[in-house]
């Protein structure tokens, strides 16, 4: 079996050709680094994406806090994760990198803040 795809691990966007007979026999061509190979694998078996979003922050002003998953997460989990994120409301102070949701759906991936939010004035 063969499939063409574009690696999204970095802006270079190497065009990959992936051929396989079964799970044990996958060959990846076209990648400039090792990330391309593991990307191709995952994309076929269990595609994942980094999710970025914003959360309501209880500061009195309409100012949302940006967040991201600490690693790519299975695509199937994304809609439910987003809906859950939108229901959160956080109180400052929040530090950049702070874990807001731990081990989403048992994946080992966390949701972290990507910005520091000080105490509201």
């Amino acid at each position: 079996m063969e499939r063409k795809m574009v690696c999204i691990s970095c802006p270079l966007g190497c065009r990959l050709t992936v051929t396989w007979e079964d799970e044990n026999d996958v060959a990846v061509k076209g990648n400039k680094c090792a990330k391309g190979e593991s990307y191709a694998w995952e994309e076929i078996l269990a595609p994942k994406r980094v999710v970025t979003a914003t959360v309501r922050a209880a500061t009195g002003a309409d100012r949302r806090l940006p967040v991201k998953t600490s690693a790519p997460i299975l695509k199937g989990y994304i809609p439910a994760l987003l809906n859950r994120v939108y229901k959160l409301e956080l109180r400052p102070p929040i530090v950049r990198g702070q874990v807001l949701l731990k081990n989403i759906e048992g994946t080992g991936v966390d949701l972290v803040a990507t910005r520091t939010l000080r105490e509201s004035v």
Partner: protein, 418 residues
Amino acid sequence: MIEKIYDAVVFGGGSAGLAAAARIAGQGHSVALLERENELGGILNQCIHNGFGIQRFKEDLTGPEYAERFIEMVGELDNVSIFLETTALEVTPGTPHSVFAYSKRHGVIKIESRAIILAMGCRERNRGNIGIPGTRPAGVFTAGLAQRLINIDGYMPGRRAVILGSGDIGLIMARRLTWVGVEVLGVIEIQGYPSGLTRNIVQCLNDFNIPLYLSHTVSEIRGQDRVTGVKVTPLEEGKMVTAKSFDLDCDTILLSVGLIPDNELSRKFGVHLNPETGGPFVDGGLMSSVPGVFACGNVLHVHDLVDYVSEESERCASFVVEYLNGDYHTQHHPIVSGANVKYVIPNKYLPGMTNRFYLRSLIVKNKAELVITLQGEPLKRKNLAHVQPSEMVSFLLNEQDLSRGSESREKKLEVSIY
């Protein structure tokens, strides 16, 4: 009126201004950093997606994370005075330059400085500029404005959207809208190829099965008070084929149709602007036609990678420092765009040292070659795996490259892409 004196004033606390301010202050000079918003970071604050800093920090950061690194750097420097919610409205070029900065807190502050760094960034091309016919309902947004409303304020511009323009901003917004529950009916692109990164086509369109209509344009906006739909028309050989138009019912239109360097303050200084870039003409040290007035970042020319913005701004800052120390280079030679090159920045180079340039190609090509020539003779060649107008190319000329042409009396270099 409060009057203050600084060695340098930086207009804009975004990625360019932060990098420049940090470098100038780090070398011991006093800096005033003027920012009209109530926080530093500029446009990075609303770019909550990842993909930033891969070149600079070898990490995949979101916009706010990238910004915070520089904000912290600047915060640690005592000689950077940060003026938030402050807007420069009047300037008087001279020796020194004067700036009138308006703020709620301080009133109008008169700031005098010998060096000015223009880092005001750019604004978006809007409906008025591109003249989409039709009615004028609510629901037409530029992509950046929609991004700001969603990511910072938490306001949604609509429920069913069509995006005009397949540049990275439009693609990123296709995903962002989908991730906040808006139905994105399609991305419309006038060229025959998408102008954003391929990775964004994959993760912003393909992931959500959002159609990309290449060689199409929005030919009419409909709706009395709020958008009700658009007419989409295909182009064949650059001409609209009205008979093949179709309608898309939507309540929101996002326009991602280009960025324009915002040089109104530059004009007030009397700086000469380059119609090819929309930004100032600059010499080898990124100084404009007005002595002591420098420019870096999107105000100089629209960038794609913030990593390049930081690099360019720090480089600019080093020259500002030389200028303040009285060491500014006196010899600058011209470098111009040749075949298939839209523009090259800066417009001059400095002999006897390493110069970094940024340029944009006019053509789309795989396995292209960048050639820098002096009177027709190549000084340097560089292989480029892929070029397209929407991906900026950066290249260096070092002393060795320049020495190849040192015999010639003619000093003008030409950059071409083949």
